[in-house]
């Protein structure tokens, strides 16, 4: 390995981590990791001149030297909370600092679905040739490369042909790091839904409050012809953590994908979604809610590529920003030549609750087909004074009125969440953040 190149790219500590990995007997894996590391070494981390990262302040993250997690365990009550306090009915796979926690996981044998630790699935030969949706030249990012170069463990989910899996699968990544010793994990998830399969996946990322650590996650999803996946993603990291996530989805013919991404934690959060509609008549519905306070930077970059005809994509992202927090929404819809009859729609709405809060919103369309229907829009504003007065004129206190209107702003995203335990957890969070918000879903 080229230590000088690594040093030049600011990657010394990552090089150590790369070299410290246990050797693998899988040639394809070694080659995959090596290629990723070489790309990373060449590109380095993005800088302020990199268009796609211009609004994402990576300085602290790049400067921090992250160690490997050192065996410290997070408090059990935080783990329970992230697992919805037992209210979740389904399969649960728990990772602590990247290590599979069998004692905390509840996996039942279920027909139609294979759920394995990624390391086991790789050893079984289930993964070779299937990992790496994100590595295609156009979709790779330095952080996805870092994950590929360094991931050790993760989850493999395969839903079999035509299987309708009714109980949702919950993958929980809990991180913890002692004060002064930040650590990093690189969780990797691969989900393959075979032809006509249907399932619901929930991902949670979290850790105890106040701790500094770095989660660099990659989730890859392949939906074969006619497959349907509901995907809920909750980012509930420590308010001082760094969270970078790459989510890559490929849809084949008439597949349907729905994403619900809720971003609450981390001092710096970056979610990059990359959805490729690669089969005729496929549909993607992407919903997101980011709720920031204090000095948080919460960044969502979505890229939806229509490569085939008759595809449809719907995007609704909402931000609620308080304190000095900053939201970033960058949405790109790309319609390839030949992707005729594409129907694409993209909206970003933001609510600023303080004078210091800020949002950068950039919805973009790039259209190279001539028979398409595409719309996009973005609005940012404060609570409507007329609505506030209306509620107060009926007897609601000012705080209660603000809480209710803020809740109402979030409610269409919350209301769509298809898993009751997730909906309840988010409702409880909103109630705690906005003390006067309702304790139950309304309207």
């Amino acid at each position: 390995m080229n230590a000088m190149a690594a040093a030049a790219a600011g990657l010394e500590s990552w090089l150590q981590a790369y070299e410290a990995q246990p050797s693998t007997s899988l040639d394809w894996l070694r080659a995959l990791k090596f290629a990723a590391w070489e790309r990373l070494e060449k590109s380095g981390f993005p800088g302020p001149r990199d268009e796609a990262w211009r609004q994402t302040p990576l300085g602290e993250l790049v400067k921090t030297r992250f160690a490997r997690p050192n065996g410290v365990e997070p408090p059990l009550d935080r783990i329970r909370q992230l697992a919805f306090d037992g209210a979740f009915a389904g399969q649960e796979i728990v990772f602590i600092n990247g290590r599979f926690a069998a004692e905390l996981s509840t996996l039942h044998p279920a027909s139609g679905v294979v759920i394995r630790r990624l390391s086991d699935a790789m050893a079984d030969g289930r993964v070779a040739g299937r990992l790496g949706v994100v590595d295609a030249a156009e979709r790779r990012t330095p952080f996805a490369d870092l994950n590929t170069a360094l991931f050790g463990e993760g989850v493999f989910v395969e839903i079999e042909d035509g299987a309708r899996v009714r109980t949702p699968v919950h993958v929980i990544h809990v991180s913890t790091a002692p004060a002064g010793s930040p650590s990093a994990t690189h969780p990797r998830t691969l989900v393959i839904a075979r032809r006509g399969a249907q399932a619901t996946l929930v991902e949670t990322y979290g850790g105890p409050g106040g701790e500094v650590y770095f989660t660099n996650a990659v989730t890859e999803i392949v939906l074969e012809d006619g497959a349907v996946l509901e995907h809920l993603r909750l980012q509930r990291e420590s308010e001082r953590a760094f969270h970078v996530a790459t989510l890559a989805v490929r849809l084949d013919r008439e597949a349907r994908y729905a994403s619900h991404a809720v971003t609450i934690g981390a001092v710096l959060s970056r979610l990059g979604l990359d959805v490729l509609l690669d089969g005729e008549g496929s549909e993607a519905a992407l919903h997101g809610l980011f709720i920031g306070d204090a000095g948080q930077v919460l960044d969502t970059h979505s890229r939806v590529e229509h490569a085939r005809p008759h595809g449809s994509s719907r995007q609704l992202y909402k931000g609620i920003l308080d304190g000095r927090s900053r939201g970033v929404f960058h949405g790109n819809v790309l319609v390839r030549p030949g992707a005729q009859q594409t129907d694409a729609w993209q909206t970003n709405k933001n609510l600023l609750l303080s004078r210091e809060a800020l949002v950068h919103s950039v919805p973009q369309l790039e259209i190279f087909a001539d028979d398409v229907k595409c719309k996009h829009g973005s609005t940012t504003g404060q609570l409507d004074p007329a609505a506030l007065f209306y509620l107060r004129s009926r007897g609601l206190g000012e705080e209660a009125a603000r809480g209710l209107l803020t809740w109402a702003f979030a409610s269409d995203i919350v209301g769509r969440l298809p898993v009751p335990a997730v909906k309840a957890a988010l409702t409880a969070f909103l109630h705690q953040r906005l003390p006067s918000a309702p304790e139950e879903a309304v309207a």
Partner: protein, 253 residues
């Protein structure tokens, strides 16, 4: 119940109310009429405490207390209700939830126990009948996608639930066809009682055929220039407002 003395108020530094006097007793219905821009809606909003309306002089006593010192929600809890000319749409908040929260805030203020969901829904069912409001609308988001008539009915429905001592109706007839007007007016009439006072602000005499007032006042350029009984409304209907624009303030007949 309500004593307004020499009330002066501005909007964006422009004086609108220029010394308004009005006295309203429990059980009375007062109509405030006047040409566009005379200050009718400003009066309604000042009484409800809308931000952006600055009181520059005078006083308003409500049940012996200084009304203007109270925040909008405190006025509501003390029994003041404003039926809006343009009710606000609040997507994402159901009518029922909103109204239950409002009613319980008022009840708490009055030292009454909060209503639980069952009792509240029974109350809603009963009061929805007052203005023939479809119960499906009650469960929908506040005013969202309601027709003009449904919004006005919803205002009176809210009034029925919240049971105010002083109801201020701001142009409640505007935008209503004759059937909707009749339903809304019937609703208000059902809510008339010896303990409650009603102040209606309206441009047209039409509403007063359905809700017959005890007193009619004419507001011109921020002052009440003429007061009388219900027959005054008919005179205004015939003669218009122009002849009053020079009339001396405080004249009475």
């Amino acid at each position: 119940m309500l004593e307004i003395r020499n009330l002066q108020a501005s909007v964006a530094d422009k004086p609108i109310l220029k010394g308004l006097d009005l006295s309203v007793k429990a059980g009375e219905v007062h109509a405030i009429m006047g040409p566009n821009g005379s200050g009718k809606s400003t009066l309604a909003h000042v009484l409800a405490g809308r931000p952006g309306y600055t009181v520059t002089g005078g006083e308003v006593l409500y049940q012996g207390r200084d009304l203007l010192a109270l925040a909008p929600e405190e006025r509501a809890r003390e029994g003041v209700f404003l039926a809006f000319q343009y009710p606000i749409e609040v997507p994402g908040v159901s009518n029922v939830y909103f109204l239950k929260a409002a009613l319980n805030a008022i009840r708490k203020h009055r030292g009454l126990p909060e209503l639980d969901a069952v009792d509240f829904l029974a109350l809603v069912k009963q009061k929805a009948g007052v203005v023939e409001l479809d119960e499906a609308l009650v469960k929908r988001a506040v005013n969202e996608g309601f027709s003009g008539g449904e919004k006005k009915r919803n205002e009176i429905f809210q009034m029925a639930v919240l049971d105010p001592a002083l109801a201020i109706l701001d142009e409640t007839d505007s935008g209503l066809d004759i059937d909707a007007l009749r339903i809304v007016a019937d609703g208000v009439n059902k809510l008339r009682n010896p303990q409650r006072a009603v102040v209606m602000v309206t441009h047209y005499q039409r509403l007063l055929d359905y809700i017959v007032p005890d007193f009619v006042h004419v507001l011109v350029e921020g002052r009440i220039v003429l007061s009388g009984g219900k027959e005054l409304a008919h005179e205004l209907e015939k003669k218009g407002y122009a002849w009053l624009e020079q009339a001396p303030a405080g004249a009475s007949r």
